[in-house]
């Protein structure tokens, strides 16, 4: 349909205006556009695909409910959704009593079994364990700046802290990751820098 194509080409601001007017089709387009990013953030933050799906669901629901109050500032709609997802993940992390770094979250791996891939899988599992061992805000800082490519200023805004504080968080996060990976034998001491 020509109208749907035109809607698909619309920018986030236009789509959010339609969402605010109750346009479900516009929300589907937004979800299609931003779900991969939200899922990646949530998964890296939580280390669990099912919980990541829940976070994406909650973020989209908030986008639908609060569409009328959204204003296109800062990082745009993507930044707004990323902030929602990050905060949801932090909330979920805080509700957890304890997460053992011994438990490595399962993940689907459709690649064929091969000796070469075994080492890669082990490295991924080790990094995942090290990430989950980090405090919530340190992990969020790493996810946002390293994986999402968000600027320090924007990441600081997402976490509600100053840029200097974010940089301090990043330093401590990298030190924590290095320490964990060294303990797991995946990283040689002194090679993190």
């Amino acid at each position: 349909m020509h109208g749907q194509d035109a809607t698909a080409d619309a920018d986030d601001g236009t789509l959010m205006q339609r969402v605010a007017a109750g346009d479900a089709r516009a929300l589907e387009l937004i979800a299609d556009r931003h779900t991969p990013m939200l899922f990646a953030v949530a998964w890296r933050m939580l280390g669990d695909a099912a919980e990541a799906e829940d976070v994406v669901q909650e973020a989209m629901t908030k986008a639908w409910v609060k569409a009328a109050s959204w204003t296109p500032v800062g990082g745009g709609l993507g930044g707004w959704l990323r902030r929602i997802a990050t905060n949801l993940c932090i909330d979920r992390q805080r509700k957890r009593a304890f997460v053992s770094d011994a438990e490595i979250p399962e993940r689907a791996d459709d690649s064929p079994s091969a000796d070469v891939l075994i080492d890669e899988a082990r490295r991924q599992a080790a990094v995942a364990a090290a990430m989950q061992a980090l405090p919530d805000r340190q992990r969020a800082a790493i996810v946002l700046t390293y994986y999402e490519g968000v600027s320090n200023a924007e990441a600081a805004a997402v976490l509600g802290i100053g840029v200097k504080a974010l940089e301090s968080l990043l330093v401590r996060a990298r030190q924590g990751l290095s320490r964990s990976l060294v303990q797991m034998g995946m990283l040689q001491e002194g090679s993190a820098a």
């Binding site: 479900a24 979800a31 899922f39 409910v65 609060k66 993940r107 991924q124 080790a126 990283l187 993190a192």
Partner: protein, 294 residues
């Protein structure tokens, strides 16, 4: 790139589950949407909204009360707003402001209607005298104007300006005083003598102006009054004339007064300027004693 960065690169998320975007969108639209940004007139439910109405109401009430108090004070008590009046009466400074204006207005009204005799019996306060309307007979009014004129003459003399008519009256009064003293008669002060000269000349001028305005209406009483005003020497000379000659002479004198009056363009015979009034007086043939000014 450090070894840590290389290892972090291995931390890749799994593929997004199929249909996740459709599912989350379908689930989201089941929720009701917020109304969005509230309109300014519907912000009563926002934080602090309950205070807004109270503040506006208090401000309006205060403004109304202040206006009522101002109206009562400004009206000088003529406007009495029931509740406000009681409060104004309770506050000393406001009460004083209201009642300060009342007596002044009443006093002015009474003064306008007071009779000349009563006013003479009840002299006005000294500070109010210059502003009060001069009441009484034309003679009394002239005396008051003459007193004022003397002040102006004093100012002109102090400023070095000429005062010929005042000088003439002064010379006349001085001669009168000297003659009475030489004759062994009681002599008035120079100021009193000046006053008598001025009054006598004013009275003569007044009669002549009336004659000039209505020559045919000259009565015997006016002639006799004019004779009484004249100084003794001129009185005898004038009395010796026949009645027709007296009337003729009075008519001639009146015409001269009228001519001078037209020349000077004096609008009011009762209130000529001091110097011009003196000029009129100067034309009177009134050399003589001031012992009988009337």
């Amino acid at each position: 790139m450090s070894q840590l960065d290389q290892m972090l690169g291995n931390y890749a998320p799994p593929p997004v589950p199929d249909g996740l975007a459709v599912r989350v969108a379908a689930a989201a639209i089941q929720e009701p949407q917020d109304r969005g940004t509230m309109l300014p007139w519907r912000r009563g439910s926002v934080r602090g909204g309950w205070r807004r109405g109270t503040l506006i109401g208090s401000a309006a009430l205060g403004l109304a009360f202040t206006s009522a108090v101002a109206a009562e004070v400004a009206s000088g008590g003529r406007i009495e707003i029931p509740v406000v009046h009681q409060m104004v009466e309770a506050v000393p400074i406001l009460k004083a402001s209201v009642h300060k204006q009342k007596p002044v207005e009443v006093a002015l009204i009474e003064r306008r209607h007071v009779s000349p005799s009563r006013q003479a019996a009840e002299p006005l306060p000294a500070a109010a005298e210059p502003d009060q309307p001069v009441a009484g007979t034309p003679r009394e009014r002239f005396i008051a104007k003459f007193t004022e004129a003397k002040k102006e003459v004093a100012e002109r003399r102090a400023a070095g300006l000429p005062t010929p008519n005042a000088d003439r009256i002064e010379r006349k009064a001085k001669r009168m005083v000297e003659r009475r003293q030489a004759a062994g008669l009681p002599a008035p002060s120079l100021d009193e003598a000046e006053m008598r000269v001025a009054v006598r000349e004013w009275a003569a001028n007044r009669i002549l102006r009336r004659v000039a305005s209505n020559p045919e209406g000259l009565t015997d009483a006016q002639v006799q009054r004019f004779i009484r005003i004249l100084p003794p020497k001129k009185r005898d000379q004038f009395s010796a004339l026949a009645p027709e000659q007296q009337r003729q002479m009075m008519g001639q004198m009146a015409q001269r007064v009228l001519a001078r009056r037209m020349q000077a363009q004096v609008p009011d015979d009762a209130a000529p300027p001091a110097d011009q009034q003196a000029a009129e007086i100067a034309q009177q043939p009134s050399e003589g004693s001031p012992d009988q000014p009337r």
